[in-house]
Symmetry: D2
Subunit: 242 residues, 4 copies
């Protein structure tokens, strides 16, 4: 009876075109892999969009028909047009959910919404990552155990230059000696934003069950309610006699 | 298909027995009024419990069959047995939702869970209260406008001695010159706690549509997910070779 | 023995040039008034800067010699060059404190740092404002009573479209029926940001003792410590054998 | 000119009496070691107190002459009298700072102030701990580098069952595969509380320079300002005509 959630999975889709290691792991692209498992859920209507499509895949009509936007980018952050980044930012402030994956920590919409550099430490050494649940009451960790492991991943390490998250639900341990806040919730305007660390393009991370579970949970969490519309900025009459 | 939410509305139910003003407004008790409107929702299974019932209405079997507990108390906070308060606290930490209404800011379970005095300023002058939505993206304000008014209420004013809430969704304006954080979210253990200010016993506050809407929303918000069970406190083997 | 705090009070300084009501209240400009009372404090070295000075008053050498920047703007937000706004943002992320006053809620540096619209409700009706202390343990309210009043001010009301503050220390009551989070702390990068609501140009707000006290306190609070410098963004070697 | 900060270092002082490994590392007790390095700071007046002293070392006169209380306990949490724990809690709510060290995560004052179980995972395997700075702008990490290491420590691991901290400044990596929020700030009433993880009794942790630096910083951070006294709980007259 409830309305279905309209999800758009956006990907810059560049590694997939040039790096056979990536296209072998993700023959339909990273966006295709993510849309693939989300499409199994009957309460979701999932579509994909990519950078090289007209209007960079994110026309007004696409954005206005999107409840939750999933974003993967890496090589081509700079090619995303400022107007597109601003349109995404504005839609989030009005209530569109945003799931920011892995290297999209430097994507234009995320950096604009957070206001900090969003820089971090990193290392490509195919090391083990173990993600610990630190907020077991948060719905984004539904169905997980106390932790889960990814056998080979790129390392992201603290200091991650972000504002204090409204909730930090996962913290990663890396074999090489680092830690990272890997699952971070932010509320901006009416929009729910979730940053989720894993997903380097040369590893089959998005084929892993626990990673898919987190993304599935986060999509539901990120749907806006129908709280009051904000008609702000205009002068108003007093509600009481002054 | 989703399982129904099991709600228990607990009330000390003392004003209703001795003050005809109260029993006239709430002939079935405050608990009866709240359970009444919640019972209209088909995804909820609502029961009531009161202080003078056996085991103060909150036996282990009642608590373990409760997903969300709604609490109203005022005169008889001190009569609630410490064991009952501890049992409620422990159930919340394990995931039971808790909606704390009005004068229950001084109830034993709430004070134990927050750790502060929970004192505040107050005045009984039947003055106007206007509740402003400050977090329009929070599901607890679904269906509200930018604000709503209660024509006559007891005043509660800042400083409210609570920890910084995880989210503050409503702030009240009072005709007599005070302000108050009237809708406050707290996560404790796996349990979601919502403090909601309105509801003095001598006013028909719980018959008002917006007040009912907030309580309805809060009940859904307070349901725990199925995040990992926490088996804490025992020594553990290393996960990596040291 | 401690090093002195270097404060720069920046003002667009436009109302003062064209509106005799303003120049009568603030003959040395709003910046002059604020710098005036800060200059009484011997642990501060206070200077001013204004929009119409070379490099809009904020050359690299000024910014790099500023520990805490105080910002007042209203008419001319759009004239502040994007490079200047970006330079302020970057300095804040590296540790410069920022005190954002009144209508500077729409200043470029603040909006860039917060990432939201920063819009709000407003009304010019010279109404009474009463500011309640909600976090008495925060050093920004040192020396205040439980509340203080400003006899005539512009109204700013919720919803104020900002991220959840790291601390909310003051909430305003307005005679016309509104409330507002009037003292809000944000940490961005290593920089401490304090938004303080009062200060409409046609009222003598910055001559009021309590308002001066809050600004004095906030300047000290906003000074960065000497935590670790962040050399982020470059690839790193593992700290442990992988 | 500023008044000196009065610090009381409390220790249950039991391991030191029975375990020669501990008394060898800390011949003057853990309290003596901590008071020792704090005593080098001329802006502090440092004293010690222990469980087996009269009134468990924390008479009203001691507490009322303490600006910041440092607490170490492990074996004897249960022996601390409820009245003493309540007195500490009340003093914190009124503004006394509290530094809670290592196994004092289960001390009565801390558990009462936080309201959760405060349980965690743990392991005694003398493994390496690396503490990463995650909030470089927080004064508690002044003087540190990006991280520091402790060669041998007991492991504490997530999930740590605490409320979301007001700030999380350090996160630990452990060789055995765990992570932990090792430096956590909480504001309760007017009191600043800092939980700092390191300090197992069989390791010379409190002789390490970086550990001492954090405790030194935290003591200054925890000093209350002179914000308004809270006279709460009594009925009040309206400030405006109703």
């Amino acid at each position: 009876m409830a309305e279905k959630i309209r999800v758009t999975v956006w990907n810059e889709n560049r590694h997939e075109k040039t790096d056979p290691r990536v296209s072998k792991i993700y023959p339909k692209g990273i966006h295709g892999a993510i849309a693939g498992f989300l499409s199994e859920d009957r309460d979701l209507i999932t579509r994909t969009a990519t950078l090289d499509e007209p209007e960079q895949g994110l026309s007004d009509s696409v954005l206005s028909a999107t409840d939750v936007l999933v974003w993967w980018g890496h090589l081509a952050h700079g090619e995303v047009r400022d107007e597109v980044a601003a349109a995404v930012q504005n839609r989030v402030l009005k209530g569109m959910g945003l799931i920011v994956l892995h290297s999209a920590h430097l994507s234009k919409p995320f950096v604009r919404l957070l206001g900090t550099s969003c820089l971090l430490r990193w290392r490509e050494a195919a090391e083990k990552e173990r993600l610990w649940v630190v907020e077991p009451g948060n719905p984004i960790v539904d169905g997980l155990g106390s932790f889960f492991e990814i056998p080979h991943e790129e390392m992201y390490g603290e200091r991650f230059d972000i504002p204090v998250p409204d909730a930090t639900v996962l913290i990663s341990w890396f074999a090489g000696g680092n830690v990272f806040r890997s699952g971070c919730c932010f509320l901006r305007g009416k929009g729910h934003i979730f940053y989720f660390r894993p997903g380097h393009e040369t590893f089959p991370t998005y084929h892993q069950k626990e990673v898919q579970q987190v993304i599935r949970n986060a999509v539901r969490w990120a749907v806006a309610g129908n709280g009051p519309a904000m008609h702000l900025g205009a002068s108003e009459e007093p509600l009481e006699k002054i």
